[in-house]
């Protein structure tokens, strides 16, 4: 997918800033970690001096007295250094975990706020990678003690100072290696970064493949295509391995070259310094000191180069995570309500809590001039206008793909209209708070999803207001009580992932019970729910009929009985409303409906005339 494979072009600086913004709430601990750095350095530095004192002042001169005290001081310095070092690493790691914990919650919340259209085109496995593997990668950065980089930088500056203090010419000569180091770092940066980006992309692909094929393993096995799937996966597996090989090579080369440069720099210094000693322009002691400093100089450099790869890896992961966080595709975004039409004057522009206004004779649902398309070149609905009064049951019929299911998705604002407006109780639904809007509407669609947990959770959905009595009552009305009764644990029966331990028909009954337990103001029913036997269908029908009584309902009708029971039938044809009326008036009208009826195209969905798009 293009958007996934595009290289993120976020600067490292920006990424670092955002990463640290994640840990900013915990900066106290980070500051402590940073403050411990000089302590560690001092205590570390004091140890060789103590050792020297022990040897020069005591052992070498045979003075045993006081040796013990020096020894104790040494141990204290060692313990202190290690304690401080541990504390510093500990705090850094803790901060990292805390920060990543927050980030994960943030990304999860953001993803759940994205629009249905985003999920239509993004594989689940890819999103899982962002939330798990990529954020894990980021936390590795903290686990490896990123704060010590600061210490490295400070150490470098101090050493440079001393070097220049002793002999500036030597210092300059020693630092000839610096531009070389920079050049190498720059060269490798591109190589390493690309390799890690590649790795993230291929990991996402691997997860997407796994997710999909584990979900569909039954199909794979039913057609005995295990080998094919293994072969397809192998391609992805190999790509992932190759991407890692590239990163390994880059990292190994970088590390080794930095080490080599260190040795070469020291050797060059030796050569040059030795020459100057011979020429008499430099003391022996100065050269020895310089060599020692240069050696010390390269220790933080070495540390930096090791951490460099870790950083690049974290940056690559951060790119992915922040790109996701930056995705602007909000679910039902708040927008300025359109101006009221001429002659109207009710309740615009004010976010409603969704309270039901009683005693209104005006239409509950008012669909005006609505047009919609999933893809710009394939319009699904064109200029649809429909008014539904409170308590009315409207059956929508027409060729599938004519836009029936789409109309139903527009009401709870899963998708927003491209033109026109939809009003509920006179208020544009875009002005109503989304949550309030969706609580008033319940839609039962074709795809029934059950959560892992219990039957109770799947019907009541953890809503405190829906107790067992209400659940059982709802279940009884649609015949789902049979499902509950068939399980020894009743409502407490365990539901496996996706409801795999329930039959398709049972899942549908549960979905109905779920909808009815909510007792919604507006019920939307996509009746392509025919995977139940005729007897159960009768029970469902009775329950739904009872439920629809006095409740505003929209039904995408597939059963003749439903159509005939509706107070109004709306025929959608090619994305437009072709006819409206009761069963008898439409038959008399002898138009599309009459034809559909005569050709028995009404039960179980409808045929697909040409010229329709694929997405409903």
């Amino acid at each position: 997918m293009a958007s996934e494979d595009l290289l993120g072009n976020a600067l490292d600086r920006t990424l670092l800033r955002r990463i640290f913004a994640c840990v900013w709430p915990y900066r106290g601990r980070l500051l402590i970690a940073a403050a411990l750095l000089p302590i560690v350095a001092v205590l570390e530095g004091v140890q060789p001096a103590l050792l020297k004192r022990a040897i020069d002042d005591h052992i070498a001169v045979g003075r045993l007295a006081g040796l013990d005290r020096v020894g104790v001081l040494y141990l204290l310095a060692l313990v202190g250094q290690l304690a401080a070092g541990f504390a510093q690493l500990y705090f850094t790691q803790v901060v990292g975990q805390l920060g990543m914990n927050d980030l994960r919650v943030r990304v999860h919340r953001h993803v759940m706020s994205l629009a249905a259209s985003f999920f239509d085109r993004t594989p689940v496995g890819r999103l899982m990678t962002r939330l798990t593997n990529d954020i894990e990668s980021l936390s590795e950065m903290f686990a490896s003690g990123i704060v010590s980089l600061l210490g490295d930088a400070i150490r470098l500056v101090v050493i440079l100072f001393w070097m220049f203090a002793i002999d500036w010419r030597l210092a300059v000569f020693s630092l000839v290696s610096a531009p070389v180091l920079f050049a190498i770092a720059a060269f490798f940066r591109g190589w390493v970064r690309d390799a890690f980006r590649d790795i993230r992309v291929r990991l996402a692909r691997m997860n997407a493949f796994l997710q999909e094929h584990i979900s569909g393993m039954k199909v794979v096995q039913a057609f005995a295509r295990e080998d094919k799937v293994a072969g397809d996966f192998d391609v992805i597996n190999v790509e992932y391995r190759k991407a890692n090989s590239r990163a390994i090579a880059a990292d190994a080369a970088l590390y080794s070259i930095v080490e080599a440069i260190a040795s070469i720099a020291i050797a060059s210094l030796l050569w040059y310094g030795g020459g100057r000693i011979v020429a008499g322009t430099l003391t022996f002691g100065a050269v020895v000191a310089f060599i020692e400093y240069l050696t010390k100089f390269f220790t933080p450099i070495r540390d930096l180069s090791t951490k460099y790869t870790v950083m690049q890896q974290a940056m690559a992961a951060a790119e992915r995570v922040f790109t996701l966080l930056d995705t602007v595709e909000p679910d039902a975004p708040a927008s300025a309500p359109p101006l009221p039409l001429a002659g109207e004057g009710r309740g615009e522009g004010k976010p409603l809590s969704g309270a039901v206004r009683s005693g209104e004779a005006s239409p509950l649902i008012d669909i005006r001039g609505v047009s919609f398309a999933y893809r710009p070149e394939q319009p699904v609905l064109s200029d649809v206008s429909l008014s539904i009064a409170r308590g009315e049951t409207v059956a929508i019929v027409g060729a599938t793909g004519a836009g029936k299911s789409t109309l139903i998705k527009l009401l709870p604002r899963l998708y927003d209209v491209k033109a026109g407006e939809i009003r509920i109780d006179g208020v544009d639904i875009r002005s109503i708070e989304t949550r309030a809007l969706r609580r008033r509407i319940v839609a039962v669609s074709q795809d029934v999803f059950m959560f892992a947990g219990t039957l109770r959770d799947n019907i009541g959905l953890h809503d405190a207001a829906i107790d067992d009595d209400r659940i059982l009552a709802a279940a009884r009305r649609v015949g789902a009580d049979r499902v509950i009764a068939s399980r020894p644990e009743g409502l407490g029966a365990r539901v496996l992932e996706r409801g795999a331990n329930f039959s398709a028909g049972e899942r549908q009954l549960v979905a109905f019970a779920r909808a009815l337990a909510r007792d919604p103001e507006i019920l939307i029913l996509d009746e392509a729910t025919a995977s139940v036997d005729p007897e159960t269908e009768r029970v469902i029908e009775r329950g739904i009929a009872e439920l629809m009584r006095g409740r505003t309902s929209i039904v995408i009708a597939h059963r003749l009985s439903t159509v005939r029971r509706a107070s109004r039938i709306v025929v959608i044809h090619h994305g437009r409303i072709a006819e409206q009326g009761t069963h008898d008036t439409l038959l008399a009208h002898d138009g599309i409906y009459a034809r559909l009826y005569r050709l028995q195209m009404l039960g179980h969905g409808a045929p697909r005339p040409s010229g329709l798009d694929a997405a409903e």
């Binding site: 022990a54 953890h462 992932e497």
Partner: protein
């Protein structure tokens, strides 16, 4: 992994150990370790050369010293370059070996997954299974890569330093090593704690993956019912648990490293104290003591690194334990030994015979003694209430459910003796929930085609299957026709369209047995009739099983089976069942009345 697709029973599969997975990459690993030896040798040589030059400058005449210095400098430079090469080599060899092992394990894991039965997948959440192939394998790979490299390096440095120390003064060396037994004890105790903490983290990673996967897969329901808040709360709880477990590991592991280093420091102190007395007593020179201390310092880094290595090791073994759990799960539906050779031949379209089939799960009997005989080429229709066991029966025929030997025979052969690959290759199956893959329409329809066909022949089959399934008009309006991408990364088809793609998929496989589970529920009566008409020649002379709730689909079947509560309540032809006035008659009373009116 054998290529005939035969699934071996548990006893025949060799037990996998962490060590055995290393074997294929042993060559590379050895090469890498050899390079490491070289690297360390250079690491010792360079400071030694440096020391030599400095001593020369100090003690010898300037011109003589200069010569030595130049020679040593050139040598150091040469060594540095060489060292860079073999150091790069060592890392590439070892890390690549680790990645190769990871690749192989993942390949084997997936292969294993494809052989696990549906019962396994019902019990194990998808997210957790995925986590084993990603997070847990990553931990194992870290063990092989950086873990192994550092273990070897550490061992080398220890060995070298010990050798040098012993050379200088065996007695002092022993004293310096006094705290090390304590170290070993600390290692043992801490390893256990770290392992437990690591395992807890890996488990929670799996749980987290499961939660995320469910939130994403069920996003439609979540939006419709405004469940975002409750799902977020649930996720936060899982997330916080992960945080707690991570912090536990940080604490346990973090306490370890300084402990090790302190022990090493105590060693230095002992040397100072004991060595000091030796020098004062005249048994040792100052220079030797200084040198001894210098080498002792060499020991400090590996001791410190030991703590880190233990961390990686425990996390790796924790990950491996979870990978092993997966690998050790044997498919409960497997080929018996002696199933190896597909019998082949046989009738073009076999008969199906079910005798006293019983299937129980979760304390219920899903099928309670079902028996029927379906002659070759005949069509069987199965009807019954929701949950009466229809799909379970079909699962049994496909052997997606484990069954007793002899309960189901196809073409006279007990299906538990037919290799699974052969059995399922015989059957074309359109399941109730029409699962499609992220692929083109053509690829989805062609999924079941196992025979090697050239592109033209394949496309022809796809087209004919699509037409028979009533899909052709829909495909005509798709943006890229049969090449349109559908599924997760492509267009979302409607439920009815998905169902017909699944139907076409079963047809395209041109199987000897056709099983259609509720394949026409999302089309209207007219389209259903049209599809059934097109299906008739396909079904004629091909053994088929149809599950449906629609009389139209069922009434022309050679035999109708009415299931009720897992038992066969009635069976016979449409006319016979109607006449007998039983469940079938009453079940379809209304539908039949409807048909009569028109």
């Amino acid at each position: 992994m054998n290529t005939s697709g035969v699934i071996l029973p548990p006893e025949a599969t060799p037990k996998r150990t962490l060590g055995s997975t290393l074997r294929p990459e042993l060559g590379r690993l050895v090469l890498g370790c050899v390079c490491l030896v070289g690297t360390n040798a250079f690491s010792l040589a360079i400071p030694w050369l440096l020391k030599q030059s400095i001593d020369a400058l100090r003690t010898l005449a300037p011109t003589v010293a200069h010569g030595i210095v130049v020679r040593d400098a050139i040598a150091i430079i040469a060594f540095a370059v060489l060292q860079a090469l073999i150091r790069t080599g060592s890392r590439i060899f070892i890390f690549d070996a680790a990645r190769n092992i990871e690749y192989g394990l993942r390949r084997d894991l997936l292969g294993h997954l494809t052989r696990l039965d549906p019962a396994f997948y019902r019990r194990h959440p998808t997210g957790d299974v995925m986590s084993r192939l990603t997070n847990d394998l990553t931990a194992v790979r870290a063990l092989y890569g950086p873990g192994l490299l550092n273990v070897f390096n550490t061992t080398l440095v220890y060995a070298t330093a010990l050798a040098l120390l012993l050379h200088l003064s065996p007695r002092l060396t022993l004293l310096a090593l006094l705290p090390y037994p304590l170290l070993l004890v600390a290692v043992r105790i801490s390893s256990r704690h770290i392992h437990r903490a690591s395992r807890a983290i890996q488990d929670q990673l799996g749980t987290m993956s499961t939660a995320i996967q469910e939130d994403l897969a069920g996003i439609a329901v979540i939006k419709h019912y405004t469940l975002e808040a409750s799902r977020q709360q649930a996720f936060r709880a899982v997330n916080d648990e992960y945080l707690n477990r991570s912090l536990t590991l940080i604490r346990v592991r973090g306490a370890l490293m300084p402990l090790f280093a302190v022990l090493g420091g105590i060693g230095t102190l002992i040397v100072l104290w004991a060595g000091g007395r030796e020098v004062i007593a005249g048994r040792m020179t100052v220079g030797s003591l200084v040198a001894f201390n210098g080498y002792l310092v060499l020991l400090s880094w590996p001791t410190f690194a030991l703590g880190w290595i233990i961390g990686i090791w425990q996390r790796g073994t924790a990950g491996w334990a979870r990978v092993r759990e997966l690998l050790d799960t044997q498919p409960s539906i497997a080929d018996a030994p002696g199933n190896g050779v597909p019998a082949g031949g046989g009738a073009r379209t076999p008969s199906i015979e079910v005798r006293d089939l019983v299937i129980a799960a979760d304390g219920r009997r899903l099928l309670d003694g079902v028996s029927f005989t379906l002659p070759a080429g005949a069509t069987l229709a199965i009807v019954g209430r929701t949950g009466s066991g229809k799909t379970t029966l079909v699962d049994a025929v496909l052997r997606m459910q484990e069954i007793a030997p002899g309960a189901v025979r196809i073409g006279g052969r007990d299906i538990t003796h037919i290799p699974l690959a052969e059995l399922r290759g015989l059957i074309g199956y359109a399941p109730q929930d029409a699962f499609l893959f992220s692929a083109t329409v053509a690829d989805n329809i062609a999924f079941g085609i196992r025979a090697p066909l050239d592109a033209a022949a394949r496309d022809e089959r796809v087209r004919r299957a699509a037409e028979a399934a009533g899909l052709a008009p829909d495909v005509a309006v798709l943006p890229e026709g049969y090449q349109t991408l559908v599924g997760e990364r492509g267009i979302t088809l409607s439920g009815g369209q998905r169902q017909r793609v699944a139907l076409a998929r079963a047809l395209a496989a041109d199987p000897q047995i056709l099983i259609l589970d509720d394949s026409l529920s999302s089309v209207d009566a007219e389209t259903e009739r049209a599809i059934l008409t097109r299906l008739r020649p396909i079904l004629a002379g091909r053994t088929s099983i149809l599950i449906s709730h629609r009389v139209a689909a069922v009434k022309d079947a050679d035999q109708i089976l009415v299931l009720d509560g897992g038992r066969v309540a009635e069976s016979g032809t449409h006319a016979a069942l109607l006449a007998s006035g039983g469940i079938y008659a009453s079940l379809y009373r209304e539908q039949l009345a409807q048909e009569a009116v028109e």
